[in-house]
Symmetry: C2
Subunit: 358 residues, 2 copies
């Protein structure tokens, strides 16, 4: 009786016929956008139910010149950090009744641009995204050019006019590095994603450099690798790189996932954390605190970052907000976990290190 099978083919027209009124009236009743008599309302609503009518958003969007949709672009779903930000964005978007169009770039700049083009064709109202490098991004240039509202997440653009929600990556690793120095570490290696594909990693590296420099110490040696590689691959690369890295006593990793894999890789190499070597991550993913020892990290408000970014984007779209400081830095927290320990032997410059624990 109720809800016809072919409701896909049911339009406002069928409803009007059934309710015995005009299209305009049906529209007004459905949207409560204009006056209607009690009887008319009742008849339209009855017709809607009988026909299983669902207003076609495509028609609405075309006519209203707004799809209400928001494009969301992340480098990867695999990193829980991005997953969390998507969750935050989704919450806010849902409350605003806005659908999310989701894509991932795989850290590929060419794909960033392709995705932006597609989103532009889809006439989204705005875009929330994380790009490889916010300081030189064809995708962002394109968005600027066409005047599409957007907001960056995680990226910390040097051009302060680009709207972004992130944490102060530079200050955070500087703080972490000072702590390491306080523990007596002088030979620190930085393990990070390739700078070409993640400006966050580069900023974090620079914070480390600055802190060491301020303490009169040598810059950290750098090892760029892919956090998605296997433990075995990480073990091989790290094992081979130890001499070049100057036999470091501490590893600063650009993200938690990488840090956890590095700890496993060190175990494969017969090195124990933190007895033989200290390891710190970045992000503050939940699992880090479940490990033993607990992962030292910079705890960042990933969920809140997504929420805040979406809020700002929506404000920007509605034009209700005057221009403000574009790059918004959220509070982070340094968690010195169990993976950090004083430099082995106690003497900052010492070369001896215990090996072969297992």
């Amino acid at each position: 009786m109720v809800a016809d099978d072919r409701n896909e083919r049911t339009s406002i027209r069928q409803v009007a016929e059934r309710a015995g009124c005009s299209l305009s009236t049906v529209s007004r009743v459905i949207n409560r956008s204009g006056p209607a008599s009690a009887t008319t309302i009742a008849r339209v609503e009855a017709a809607v139910i009988e026909l299983g009518f669902r207003p076609n958003s495509l028609g609405q969007s075309l006519r209203r010149q707004s799809s209400r949709a928001i494009g969301v672009v992340v480098p990867s779903f695999t990193n829980p950090v991005f997953a969390a930000s998507v969750a935050g964005m989704e919450t806010v978007a849902r409350e605003a009744g806005r659908p999310l169009l989701l894509s991932s770039t795989g850290y590929d700049r060419a794909r960033e641009l392709e995705i932006i083009e597609t989103l532009l064709c889809q006439r989204v109202d705005g875009i929330a995204l994380t790009v490889a490098d916010a300081s030189q991004s064809a995708a962002l240039d394109q968005l600027d050019q066409v005047g599409m509202p957007y907001v960056l997440l995680y990226n910390q653009p040097r051009l302060r006019r680009r709207p972004a929600v992130t944490v102060d990556n530079f200050a955070a690793t500087a703080e972490l590095t000072r702590y390491l120095i306080g523990l007596g570490h002088t030979r620190i290696a930085y393990l990070g994603g390739r700078f070409g594909t993640t400006d966050r990693s580069r900023m974090r590296f620079e914070g480390c450099v600055a802190a060491l420099e301020a303490a009169g110490l040598a810059a950290p040696r750098l090892l760029e690798l892919d956090y998605l590689d296997s433990i075995e691959q990480h073990a091989t690369v790290i094992g081979q790189s130890m001499p070049r890295l100057g036999e470091p006593t501490a590893f600063l990793c650009s993200n938690d996932l990488l840090a956890i894999s590095v700890i496993a890789a060190l175990r494969v190499l017969g090195l124990s954390v933190p007895d033989d070597i200290s390891v710190a991550g970045f992000d503050g993913i939940a699992i880090g605190q479940m490990l033993s020892p607990g992962l030292a990290t910079i705890d960042t408000p990933t969920l809140a970052m997504g929420e805040r970014a979406m809020q700002r984007l929506l404000e920007q779209i509605s034009g209700s907000v005057p221009a403000r400081n574009a790059v918004e830095l959220l509070r982070y927290e340094f968690r010195p976990g169990g993976t950090l320990a004083p430099v082995p032997g106690g003497n900052a410059g010492g070369r001896e290190r215990r090996r072969r624990k297992s």
Copy 2:
């Protein structure tokens, strides 16, 4: 010169004027859907570039009676298992040139239905989803009723006519449980998400029940909890429940995230894994193998599940595929990790257990 600022307002009409031809011709050239002279093509293409024209998908969709979009509905982004499946789905959808409309239910059945309604209004071509319970779902009933193509992920519906891609949850935990029995465990507790919100958890529980029963052993005691709760909460609940759970020597957890948290909670309670108690998870998330000891688990092909589900959905939409066995089971692999050990003391029934390790 190129790419006008107000390109949002540029339609095929402007292009036609600039190229000196009709709308139909522009459409044909852009879509290569009909003949056109070399000169016409050149002029249209030039106009497109000069105006920075991007065809409006809204208009195309309305006219073509298909948005090409696919709705994707997951319980949560926080669980890497769902994130991985979304990644798999996105890959396949992208290759097919189909945008993804993403929502999360928060394991809430009312929201499942709301989301489905919205997706129906948006005239998606199909929906890939994981619901709380595929055997009684208003959302799925609705999809069946309106004839919207869909495919389930992770859910293992008892009604075999509902298309799904998953693993045999029952067989998997049965295998895992037999292994535990082989290690001498007889008092096994099952820790899982609330059955009302996850039919996977219930199926896995039943596999455990069946294996114990087949061995002439008592059914596992059950503790339902939320995998998103904190370690402290888990520690409290587990500590209080130990007597009621019959002082188990092994915990079978409904997913890896929960298992990892449970291991941390046991640590808080002064219990060591696997010396005092064995713990197994389910899913095979990457981090599990990075832990020490490595997490015992059922390794499931989450990425492939997403890819396969999207493939099947697209086949279903294009109608190219005849009806086939609806529930497709992917291969899983049991990984007996370091978190499993023979029952303490070696005697299956023994009550003594070492405590207070730390």
